[in-house]
Subunit: 389 residues, 2 copies
């Protein structure tokens, strides 16, 4: 689809959208950023490799070879720009540049894990940018303590993720995967699909978290005539809540057993890590379907695999794992009734163009000593954004 | 999900919904039906086999073993009820009963092909019921000429099919299938998915046909912020059209080249058979995605396979084939970038309960010599319903 759109036009248009979200304040960046701002910078980008696909689509800017489409712009200003997918261990390309890089750009799809140790080693580091949403690959407390700024391209792929979640809800509810297997293996056994295929209509769908993505999902679920529940720290503003027809559940554990389908839309924090453990899963409805495009570590890996094997969870779909890339022997690859993929939902071509534009915008501001759009900050002046506290 | 609902309760509730749609007229059935009405009937149901899945779900009424859940009721009134999946050729169970059956029930999922020849042999035949929607497996002109009544359970699975279409639109747009393959084969290659994964937002979706299913699909697509086009014989009533934000395209061939995604929602008739042939496909946007849950024979089978191989069609998904069951060597099983399944979208557990209730309702009326809900008729008093003319 639309393979021939020029990347530059779309980056410009996405960029202006993102810029328009920004606060107009231009106060100076404090702490380590300020100290180090100005002059030629060493910027390292860690992305997934494009390989044979790199040149297949001019808008495929999210891979190593695409490098977010900012190489020419960076180099024309005298900055050094290194891109790699080699991120693990002391011999990795990333590790080699840790001591003298100024800016590290990474993505949730192929995360550069930024530990306290790496932060300590990175004496010139000013800025950690996430091309996308979700900065849990960074030790945020260590980053805050070191006076670093961490920012993401908030909003850049919320629509992409919400759409993907709805796809996964339908894939599980309608039991798509066994049907697809039959198609490609020469089989035809309608009963093997139909005995556990359902309409979405009339079912109860609960989202754990109703932030930007959760709200977009609820909007898209509205015409399906489902019973919509949501749990969050905050209640949705009354007008939107009414429009969505969604019911607020203050107590997570009161909501979960009501749900035929549960969708995870909360960031990974110390509070949500391992939230779905064996005990909590045992209290869910037998036959529950779970969609998780948030973060793999919100689930207890083995507890999910066991509940899929026992049938307590009737279907599990998501694109997030821990760690990433998922090892070949990750149990979610082999458990029954799953519809897993690698981490992809936030890196559609459309999303790549938006987060590439957002990264460029923030770099530009950083070089000028200007503030970022307020909602992009994850760590600012030693403080974590509220969703990570 | 919801595996423990009692079948009987749901059938009752679905039945009353369907009854409420009926016209209140109760004029007598004319021609062969009238002649043969009254007395003990031989009813044959042709469904897909449940096999090991038959007893896995008490609501799985759509298989041979489930027999629509009407055996006890029929037999208690002295009728004979034969169910089978064996429908092809002169030695089949169906063929054996053709000479003396009064009522034939079949489904689009495992269609009993009712040819002019079979109609000629079926001297006692009064009524042909489709458990579901779509009666193109019947030679409707021959049925009309023979004075038979043909009826379906209109509305019974429109929601089921519309939901499934939206799933397939997302599966193709987001490039789900290669990601799933990676998950199960131990691979991790985000680029292999992302280089051709898109958001649905902002794309142009056109439906060929905007009847009951097409309208439900448009409603569900609305919050995705897409450009919605539709072609049909009839324009949607202005208020609904405005609510959907869909644009009417009187000329099919003017609409098709505008679409990033085309969805087929038209019955199979002599006008739509082979509608998407090599020439028409060649005029579509390069990289178009096609979803077809309507009927396989609306497409030229080989032309679709060739266009998927060349990349002109970037993705094709549907649950309908010709013939059904699809033979092991059907080219759609092996063409690139497909997301095919056996014919399943209209036979979710929820749909089965609704069409089982609708069939029971029509049998009850037939035995009493009462009319069916008007919208259920496909052939009535020698006349074809308008969508089949």
């Amino acid at each position: 689809m639309a393979m021939k759109r020029a990347a530059s036009t779309l980056i410009t248009s996405a960029s202006s959208t993102i810029s328009s979200l920004s606060s107009s304040s231009a106060s100076s960046i404090i702490t380590r950023n300020l100290h180090a701002s100005g002059g030629k910078k060493k910027i390292v980008g860690v992305f997934y490799k494009g390989n044979e696909y790199a040149s297949s689509n001019p808008n495929f800017v999210g891979c190593v070879e695409g490098g977010l489409g900012i190489r020419e712009w960076l180099e024309s200003q005298g900055h050094e720009y290194i891109v790699t997918d080699d991120k693990e261990g002391l011999d990795s390309v990333l590790e080699k540049h840790i001591p003298d890089l100024h800016v590290l750009i990474s993505t949730p799809f192929h995360p550069a894990y930024v530990t306290a140790e790496r932060i300590k080693k990175a004496k010139n580091l000013e800025l950690l940018l996430t091309a996308g949403i979700g900065s849990d690959h960074i030790d945020l407390n260590a980053a805050a303590a070191a006076g670093l700024t961490v920012a993401e391209v908030t909003g850049s792929n919320t629509v992409s993720v919400a759409e993907d979640e709805l796809m996964r809800i339908l894939i599980l509810t309608r039991n798509f995967v066994p049907g697809y297997h039959q198609a490609i293996t020469g089989d035809w056994n309608v009963a093997g699909i139909a005995h556990r295929a359902y309409d979405l209509e009339g079912k109860t769908v609960g989202t754990v978290g109703a932030g930007r993505i959760g709200k977009l999902l609820l909007q898209r679920l509205k015409p399906f005539n489902v019973n919509l529940l949501y749990h969050d720290r905050l209640k949705i503003e009354p007008e939107l809540e009414k429009e969505l027809g969604a019911t607020y559940e203050e107590d997570l554990d009161a909501m979960l057993p009501k749900c035929d389908i549960i969708v995870i839309n909360t960031p990974l924090t110390e509070k949500t890590r391992g939230l779905f453990d064996k005990n909590r899963i045992a209290k869910l409805k037998k036959g529950v379907l779970i969609v998780n495009n948030a973060r793999g570590a919100i689930m207890d890996t083995q507890a999910v695999a066991d509940a899929c094997s026992s049938g307590h969870i009737a279907g599990y779909s998501g694109d997030v794992w821990f760690p990433q890339p998922a090892p070949k022997d990750h149990p979610w690859r082999y458990m029954p009734n799953h519809a897993m993929t690698p981490h992809i939902s936030g890196t559609t071509i459309d999303a790549q163009l938006r987060y590439a534009a957002g990264v460029k915008d923030m770099l530009e501001r950083h070089f000028k000593g200007e503030d970022f759009p307020e909602q992009n900050y994850i760590v600012k002046q030693g403080e974590l954004a509220s969703q990570y506290r």
